[in-house]
């Protein structure tokens, strides 16, 4: 698994549950004392071991933990770069949803070896969408769910999200956009560092 993802899990555990939690998880899972490097690649089994240990230590289900990870990545100030990159997808949450299918390609432009699930967006009635996630790694749909929840909030939209259909090769995410302009959302300037 790519170091960016492993590093994200590490930061999430440290920032959410404290350094002691991470130290414990790292020891149980057999991560090197220095932790993960974002630009190196690690065995998938190591990531699995980390998630397994984290789930046992934190007391959440794997699904909930992954969803929290997704929300954390978009909303935590340390990862502003990721939020900004996602906001380039569009001016509104709806435009952003329409840009989701390009997300794997956009990601590959920046980090060619980062594995992403393929995403396919379909309209489902009025203001409803189905997002098909295919491939990627198991549980990626929950991270995506958390990220989308946080992005809706970022744009000021009110949306309901649910992982409905989990299959061996992927999952379906349903999005109900209740109010595209529920609140003003967070500001976004095309130039980094501007309010």
């Amino acid at each position: 698994m790519h170091g960016l993802l492993n590093r994200a899990i590490q930061c999430f555990l440290v920032d959410t549950y404290g350094g002691k939690c991470w130290t414990h998880v790292a020891r149980v899972a057999g991560v090197e004392p220095g932790g993960f490097e974002a630009m190196l690649t690690y065995e998938d089994s190591l990531t699995d071991a980390v998630l397994h240990a984290a789930v046992a230590h934190v007391g959440l289900t794997r699904e909930m933990l992954l969803e929290d990870l997704g929300t954390y990545l978009v909303s935590h100030s340390d990862h502003e770069a990721l939020r900004r990159l996602l906001r380039f997808g569009g001016e509104t949450f709806l435009e952003f949803l329409f840009s989701l299918e390009d997300l794997p390609d956009r990601t590959r432009l920046a980090v060619p070896d980062l594995e992403m699930p393929e995403l396919e967006l379909a309209e489902d009635g009025e203001k409803g969408f189905l997002i098909q996630c295919r491939g990627g790694w198991p549980g990626a749909e929950f991270v995506l769910q958390g990220m989308l929840r946080a992005m809706a909030d970022d744009y000021g939209a009110l949306a309901l999200l649910d992982v409905t259909d989990r299959r061996r090769d992927g999952a379906t995410l349903t999005v109900s956009l209740l109010d595209a302009t529920f609140h003003s959302g967070r500001s976004f300037s095309l130039v980094a560092g501007c309010p």
Binding site: G34, E37, L109, C194
Partner: protein, 343 residues
């Protein structure tokens, strides 16, 4: 007057109303047959300033490459050619563009793009995604710039951490674990370096006297403490440009940069021996040792090599031991100086 121009443009030339044209090309200028601006895209208007309509195009746009143009004939002669230009309101912002002639009324349509100035322009004019046509690659370019700089930042931090690890691993690999002095590997490397630089220096081979007795009487733990103490003394008596190395067991080597005068070297060696002969308190036991020192000198012209230098220092050390320990000997081509009087 402007209205009439707009209508004529709409009817005869392009078949777009200016608003639609502005959506399609937010950075365009429509120029009438007289060379005056009759409509602009909204983003160009933000960059070029207010009240553009009716002004001669040359007051607003400065064509730079392939050549300037300030009238209609000059402008139309550039039709279909990649243009480099700037705006009078922002002369330092290089822009790209293309002009085409309009049929019928004989005006021109100049479409402008920011090219690589995009990032600067976005910051300077506080542009948003709405200021660009969706068909433009502005969002992708901005996205890529940020994504790549984020990745480059991570890589830079990784490189710094790896370099830190490399430096400490190299230091570790070149350090004697007991005494913290340079080890044989580092000694060899520094010796090669001194020789390659053609730098005059001397190599002092120091062998502790009576150390075996300390080991045999008080045990290895005390012996090790004496070696650590010895290392401290040697280090404190050396300059930063010198290299103090543990050669193995109770032998040490000091490379003394730029000192080749035997008299000076003798004084240094005797001072070292004097320090080493002071009682050493190791784990509560008072230990007494001394040292014999053999010195080989390498000057710029004597074509020394490491093997020869070690051999010469060894011969000198043997001579010092033979002369009764606790003294300094030099290797010389013809004779060997003995112990100084009184030692």
């Amino acid at each position: 007057m402007n209205m009439a121009r707009d209508t004529r443009l709409e009817d005869q030339a392009i078949g777009f109303d200016p608003l639609a044209l502005g959506q399609l090309m937010p950075m365009h200028l429509c120029i009438d047959a007289c060379g005056c601006i009759c409509s602009t895209g909204p983003t160009l208007a933000r960059l070029a300033g207010p009240d553009l309509i009716g002004r001669p195009f040359a007051d607003v746009v400065t064509l730079r490459r392939p050549r300037g143009a300030d009238d209609m004939a000059g402008l139309l002669a550039l039709a279909g050619v990649p243009l480099k230009l700037s705006l009078a309101a922002a002369p330092s912002l290089p822009l790209k563009g293309m002009v085409v002639g309009l049929s019928g009324a004989g005006g021109a349509l100049l479409n402008v793009s920011m090219g690589i100035s995009l990032i600067e322009a976005v910051g300077r004019f506080d542009l948003t995604l709405r200021d660009f046509a969706p068909t433009e690659l502005a969002a992708e370019l901005l996205y890529l710039t940020e994504a790549k700089s984020a990745v480059a930042g991570e890589l830079r931090r990784l490189a710094q951490r790896l370099n830190g690890a490399r430096v400490s691993a190299e230091t570790e690999a070149a350090t004697d674990t007991l005494t913290g002095l340079a080890n044989r590997r580092r000694l060899d490397a520094t010796l090669e370096q001194f020789l390659a630089q053609g730098r005059p220096f001397s190599l002092a081979h120091i062998d502790l006297d009576f150390f075996k007795q300390v080991n045999d009487t008080h045990g290895h733990v005390t012996g090790d403490a004496v070696l650590v103490e010895t290392a401290g003394i040697l280090r404190s008596q050396s300059r930063t440009q010198d290299l103090v190395a543990r050669f193995g067991g109770d032998e040490f080597v000091i490379l003394m940069a730029d000192i080749v005068d035997p008299a000076q070297l003798r004084r240094i060696g005797e001072r070292l021996i004097e320090w080493l002969e002071r009682p050493i308190l190791a784990h509560g036991t008072e230990c007494r040792i001394s040292a014999s020192i053999g010195v080989a000198i390498s000057t710029r012209n004597d074509r020394s090599d490491p093997v020869r230098l070690f051999h010469e220092a060894d011969v000198a050390l043997y001579d010092a031991k033979r002369r009764g320990r606790g003294c300094v000997s030099f290797f010389t081509d013809t004779t060997m100086s003995g112990c100084p009087p009184g030692r």
